[in-house]
C-alpha cells in the first residue's frame, strides 16, 4: 500500500498553452478582419494581399503582402499614415488580454 503525492502543473500548462494558441489565432483573424476594410482601396490588390500565418505555436503573423503596404500604413514624405493595421491591433488587443487573463485564472 502507498500514497502518491503529485500535481498537475505540466498537464495544466499544456492546456493553457493550447488555449492561448487558439486565442492568438482568433485575435490574428480579428485583426485581419478589422484591417482589411480600413486599408486604402483603389484596385483591391492591397486589401487582397492580407493574410494570417501561423508561424509557430503561439506565434501568429498578420501581414499585407503588397510592397507599398508599409508606405500606406506609416505614411511617406508626402502622405499621412493610414494606420489600418496598427489601429486594428490596438482595437483587438484589449479583448485578447482579457481572454488571456480568463484562461490563466
Amino acid at each position: 500500500m502507498r500514497v502518491e503525492l503529485s500535481n498537475h502543473i505540466a498537464e495544466k500548462a499544456l492546456q493553457i498553452e493550447t488555449e492561448i494558441d487558439a486565442l492568438l489565432t482568433r485575435t490574428a483573424w480579428e485583426i485581419k478582419t478589422r484591417a482589411v476594410p480600413k486599408a486604402p482601396y483603389r484596385d483591391g490588390y492591397l486589401q487582397g494581399s492580407a493574410g494570417v500565418e501561423s508561424a509557430a505555436k503561439n506565434l501568429k503573423i498578420v501581414s499585407f503582402g503588397m510592397f507599398y503596404a508599409e508606405y500606406q500604413e506609416l505614411g511617406t514624405r508626402y502622405t499621412k499614415p493610414k494606420d489600418f493595421l496598427g489601429s486594428s491591433f490596438r482595437e483587438a488587443i484589449p479583448g485578447c488580454i482579457a481572454d488571456a487573463r480568463r484562461i490563466a485564472s
Binding site: Y71, R77, T79, K80, S87, R90
Partner: protein, 133 residues
Amino acid sequence: VKTLDKAIYTLLSGDATLTSLAPGGVWRGVAPVSVTGTFVSFTKLDSQDDYTLGMRATSLATYQVKAITPGESAVPAMDAAARIDALLTDATLSLDAGRVLSVRRSQTNELDENDGGERYQHAISQYRITTQD
C-alpha cells in the same frame, strides 16, 4: 484653445536641440514640398474615450511622430527621434481644457522610402497620450 496637437507642436518646435537636429521644422500632418533637410512631422492616429458613470473619464490618443531625412543614411533621423523621445516621454503638456496624465512611447519603427530613386529615411515613434477633460 490649446489642444493636444498645439501642445505637442509647441514643445517640439520650441526646443533648440531638436531645431538643430531637424532644421526643416516641425509639421502637423505632411510637410510642405519646399521643406529641405531633416524635419519632423506628427499625426494623431486615433483616440479612444473611456467613460465612468456616464462621464468621460479619460481619452487615450495615439500619435505618430516621425523624423524624416533625405538620403541613404538614417542617422540624422534617428538622432532627431532620440531627442523627440527625450522631450515627449513623461512630458508636461499644458492644455487650456483638461490635463495630460501621461505620455509614453508605445512602439518604434523605421521606413526606407524610395520615391522613384529619391530616398527618405523615416524614424517613427508612436506615443500613447492619456488626457482627462
